[in-house]
Symmetry: C2
Subunit: 458 residues, 2 copies
């Protein structure tokens, strides 16, 4: 059995790379290595995906689906016996319906491409994240992407109205619902969203669009205690009455990192507060929304919730504020970062983070520790930087420090990045044996041969 | 095998009604008949539910789970060989966490009970529907309830953060996630939400709460064309920038019905417009929100989208407007109503509804036809009233008229009520053979003996 030749017969010679050509491609963002696989198939349609899957199923060849390779948890790693199924030739935006406010796309469409196409129609696709220029919508769905505006618009799961999927045996299940409400039978979408390519290959999507906001207001705020951070979240959520669109926190060390050279950003407020929050409101009435935002900020100041604030005066201020928060690559300077993406109840965060800070030094010696994240969603990004030469040795110790305490209060080892291979050893911290057993039941029901992204997640 | 005796040994004598006692209870809202079953078990905890399920599984006895019996699609009908599992003794609100903004409840808690308990903490549980005083939160989850504010807050699916479920064999899967973001493995919640009791018994829930709005504005609006209804939706959604909380439509005949005696309501605007919309904004700043709402209404009037409007001047105006929309029981006067709950793309609605009106008379002769619904979600309620004596004969003809045209544009035979037994013959209009086959795969994976609410949905 020659995998490359067989697949070429099915979908054309140019559509299939052999092992050598596959090995010339990068394994993805922030990865030093290249891909490896027996072949890399680039089907141009759902029907071609189905042909590839049917052949692989019949021949017991396992398949790893690739989108933009911007995942951070080794969820798309492949091996020399496997076929990589890349959706890079399925990049068509099939329809943008401005009345129904939906977009129909092939799974290989880049997130930013859709964002921009939709903006031209005065609409918005609200998913937004740093990898927008590379990540694909199929990948966003397969991993249930989160990002910057979950507090207002939800995760990718909440934006997918319908999808088309190819099952392990090549069966096409088209569930291209365009409706906001549809209770006709089980909601099959949900099964595939967030299953990291282990239950099916998502090939097309119907996405929900929103009216484009025409005004926004932002502030960077300094706070003196974590209790005030939590109270400020509640205050702003209440006071903005539906327009709150982001609530991002930065612990002091991260704020200093992204507002001090070599970072390009300058500090909009002093650098010595223990906590910072970036807060954003998206609305539709420039004057009234700004007034409302300023009223809410003033009340927060008068009530003692916040002690300092820089308030945006222009769209370019807003962009500057976001670019501070998004300058995550600063954690790359001076060592190797170990990156986490946990979630936990807001009421547990102060205790958790202060214990983490206090104990990390005892566990691994000298290091840097930065904390920031989508606090409004309970999601913290924790970055621990260690010397490059100690990375492999320290990594499991750091993971233990970060993950183990989460079990006590049902925190999650992955808020948004997913499990992949990287977090698989820690899944049990967040999920019970019976939950994992039920996941396995689903996996065997949908992929009895175990050929879809085997070994990932569970 | 004596079912009643066996179950009494497991969970106590008082917890199990025999067939005769069961038959004294009503089959539910708007139902003339009484329940029938071999026994009605009323466990007091998840552990007791698990005992009942394990026994029924071992003895091949099938089980129908009951919440508040407010469903409208015969989704909870049971037969003389079956056991009814009622969650009526599991009514505890275990926790309302005002920092995390979650409620932890047993599945038998009444929707309105939770709404009120949460309001006392200045929070809101945004699911709302006519049956709020009887429907249970477990039932809301099992049927993925919708209701009045889906456009802003989503359906029940979007409000459930975690759940505990008992599988067909009695296994307890506790997935009581409290976090907004959690990508640690498959999202097991989604499997059970909206599966109408066919995949597991939901026993406890963690629900997401929202900040309580402190201001609201409403209007009842007259419009001269359906195009204007669609444009008005887009206009208000855009102009209110996140505060739009309801957009309900009423076709002329329905508006006349609920504003003319014997209905208690009076018409806030003239009765001769072809279309009416009830629009609501929920915000947090009385003055600014009202100004914004009035600006949006003024612009709609100036642009010719709307021709008449009554705007609320007080909270009691708002209540009066809602009570018109909610006075659905008026369709009971003068005949028997056949009630539908479809959804379809907004761009198809005018053609669909005018064809329906034009052809219904040919199909069934004299009748009344009322259309209203959650237009912002694409969800129309269609009520066809026929003479009581012709009900049984005409019902299938009416169903055919309403459902068959939906297939052409992927409409749904159930936007929110579910499939149950009533719509099962029509599931194929909205879902493909491969979709239904995949539903069956899930059903057999989770309930290989087919003892959970057998025969429902698929």
């Amino acid at each position: 059995m020659n995998i490359v030749e067989s697949l070429r017969e099915l979908i054309g010679a140019a559509a299939v790379l052999d092992a050598a050509d596959t090995a010339t491609r990068s394994a993805g963002v922030w990865r030093p290595d290249n891909l490896q696989a027996a072949a890399l198939a680039r089907p141009a349609s759902t029907q071609e995906v189905a042909k590839v899957m049917a052949w692989c199923h019949a021949n017991d060849v396992s398949v790893v689906t690739h989108g933009g390779l911007t995942g951070l948890v080794h969820g798309a790693d492949a091996g020399p016996e496997q076929v990589i199924l890349s959706l890079e030739r399925m990049r068509q935006i099939e329809e943008i319906n401005t009345v129904q406010r939906t977009a129909t796309v092939e799974a290989g469409v880049i997130l930013q491409t859709l964002q921009e196409a939709v903006e031209e129609q005065a609409l918005m696709f609200p998913l937004d994240l740093g990898a927008r220029g590379t990540a694909t919508l199929g990948g966003n769905a397969a991993t249930n992407a989160g990002g910057n505006r979950v507090i207002r618009y939800g995760m990718m799961r909440d934006m997918v109205l319908g999808l088309e999927v190819v099952l392990a045996d090549g069966t096409i299940v088209s569930s291209m619902n365009h409706l906001i409400k549809n209770n006709a039978g089980y909601d099959l979408r949900q099964l595939f969203i967030g299953s990291e390519g282990t239950l099916g290959v998502i090939t097309r999507l119907v996405l929900r669009l929103r009216e484009q906001p025409s005004a926004r207001d932002m502030a960077i705020v300094g706070l003196e205690s974590f209790d005030n951070v939590a109270a400020f979240l509640k205050h702003m959520d209440h006071s903005l009455g539906g327009t709150l669109s982001a609530f991002e926190s930065m612990w002091q060390e991260f704020y200093q990192l992204v507002t001090t050279a070599p970072a390009k950003g300058k500090p909009p407020i002093a650098q010595d507060y223990p906590f910072y929050v970036l807060v954003e409101s998206q609305g539709a009435d420039r004057e009234l929304d700004t007034q409302r935002f300023n009223n809410a900020m003033e009340a927060a100041y008068e009530n003692g919730l916040i002690v300092d604030a820089a308030i945006s005066q222009s769209e370019s201020d807003c962009e500057a504020f976001w670019s501070l928060r998004d300058d995550v690559e600063q954690v790359m300077h001076g060592g190797f970062p170990i990156i986490f993406d946990i979630s936990l109840p807001i009421g547990e965060m102060e205790q958790y983070t202060s214990t983490l800070k206090a104990q990390m030094g005892d566990a691994i010696g000298e290091h840097k520790l930065w904390i920031f994240g989508h606090l409004g969603d309970g999601n913290l990004h924790i970055n621990v930087q260690v010397p490059a030469e100690d990375y492999m040795r320290l990594r499991p110790i750091v993971e233990q420090q970060v993950y183990a305490p989460l079990a006590a209060f049902q925190g999650s080892v992955s808020a948004e990045h997913g499990i992949g291979l990287e977090k698989k050893p820690y899944l049990g911290i967040s999920r019970s044996e019976n939950e994992v057993a039920l996941m396995r039941t689903l996996k065997s029901a949908l992929d009895s041969k175990g050929i879809l992204n085997p070994g990932k997640v569970i």
